[in-house]
Amino acid sequence: MSSVAIVGAAETTELGVIPNMSQLQLHADAALNALADAGLTAADIDGVATAGESPTAIAHYLGITPEWVDGTQVGGCSFMIHVRHAVAAIQQGLCKTVLITHGESGRSRIGAGNFRGGGGSATLAGQFESPYGVVGPPTMFTLPVLRYMKDYGMTHEQLAMVAVVQREWASKNPRASFRELITVEDVLKSRMIAYPFHLLECCLVTDGGGALILVSGERAADFPRKPVYVIGTGESVETPMVSQMEDLTSSRAFRVAGQRAMTSAGISHDDVHHMMIYDAFAHLPIYGLEDLGFCQRGEAASFIWEGNTRPGGKLPLNTNGGGLSYMHSGMYGMYALQESVRQLRGVAPAQVPGAEISLCLGVGGMFGASGCVVMSNIGP
C-alpha cells in the first residue's frame, strides 16, 4: 500500500481569545493557513473532512468541490480518525488532496452551538446520567479517577504533577495560554472544581482552529515543507456514558486504537521519540501511557513524577503544553496533531532533538472514543 503524507499543517493565526471570528471562520482561517503552508489553493482540494461543522458547510464556505467527504464526529479525537480515513481514501484513489479542518469558538462562543452533556432527556445519557447533577466534562470525565487512585495508590500530588510538567513545556512556547512555571503546591491550592480535581488539573477553554493537508507519499516531495508520513493509525469507540466504562482505570478505546496504530506502524515502544496524549484533564496522560503499554498498570504516575516526560526526559510528552496549558477549544485533538507535525518538521518551539517518530493519541467524549496516529519524517 502506498504511503500518505501530511504536506500542509497550520493553526489559526491567533489562539486564545478570538472574539472577532465565528466558529466557521476559525475553520477557514486555519484552512487558509494550511493551504499557504502547502502552496495550494482551495481549487487543489478534492477531499474534505471536519467535525464541529459539517463537511458541506466547510466545502461551501471555502469554495471546494470535493469528491470525498468525512464528517465523523466522535469528539476531540475526530481529527485523528479523519487522518486515518483520509489515508485510506487516498490509497484507494477516492481523492488526491485532503483538507481536514477544525475551528471552535470555545471561549467566545461566536457562531458556536451550545455544549450539552448527555444530549436530550430521552437519550440514554439524558435518562441515566443527566438527572444526577452532571455539569459538563469536569464532572464526568473526572469520575473514574478516585477508583484509579484507590486501586493503584496514586496520590493527589502525583496527579498534580501532570499539570506541573506540562506547564514546564508550555513555558517554552510563546503561543501557550499559560507559561508561568507552577509547583505541585500551586496545583493543589488552586480552586477545587470537582473533587479530586483542582482548576489547574482541568483544561483551558479557548478559541482557535487548525487544519491539515494530506497527499500520497509519491507527491509529498513536490511540496515546500518537509513531509510528515502517516505510518500507522487506529480508531475505536466505547461508550457515550462514562458511568458505563468497562473498567474505570483503563480506556478500551485507547487500548484498541493505540494497539492498532502501533501494530500497523510496525513500531515498538522504544521507537517513539515524541508523544502527544490528549489531556482534557490531568489523568488522561496517565491512562494513555498505561493503555498503550508505555508503562505497566499503575506505574504511569510515578513515571511522570520521576521526570521521564519532562523536557530532557526519555519520553517527551505533550510538548506544546497540552490542553492544560497550551490551548483547549473543546475538541483539542487537532492541536495535538499540529504539535506532532511541528516536532517532526523540526520547527517546534520546544523542539525534541532528532525526533523521527511521533505518536499522537486522541480521546473523544468522556473516554467515549479514541483515534491514534503514528507519524514519521522518514519516508518509506
Binding site: S121, Q127, G133, T139, V145, R147, R191, Y195, L248
Partner: protein, 138 residues
Amino acid sequence: MTKESRPLPRPTPETQHFWDGTKAGELRLQRCSECDHVYFPPRPFCPSCSSRSVRVFKASGRGRLLSYVINQRPHPAWDAPYAIAIVELDEGPRMMSNIVGCAQTPEALQLDMPLTVAFEKVSDDIALPLFTPAGGAR
C-alpha cells in the same frame, strides 16, 4: 437537596419498564435468557450475545460505591458541593447516581462502602434511584 427541578429523564419504549419500576419502588434490571448476562442501561436485547430473549427482574437494590466526584460548580438544581457517583450493583451492572443520607465529603464517602437504593420521587411520573449507605445514615 434540590432547588429547581433537576433534569428529568424522558422514558422511551425500551426503558419504560425501568422507570415504571422505580416509581413502584423496584430497581429493575434485565437478564439474558440465553447467556444469563445481567446488564444496564435497559435495551430489549442482550449486549453480550445479541439475543432478543431477555427478561426483566427485580434487583436486590444493593451495591457499592465504585467512584465519584464532589462537584463544586454551580448547577441550577443543586447547592454545591454534592457528589456524583458510580455505583456497582451486586448483580454486576453499574449506574450513575447520587449518595444521599450522608455527608458529601471525601471522609464520609469511602470507596467500596456498601449502599442501598432509595427512591426519590421527583415528579408525578419519575422516581430516581438514589443510594444511601447500607445500614442507614452515618
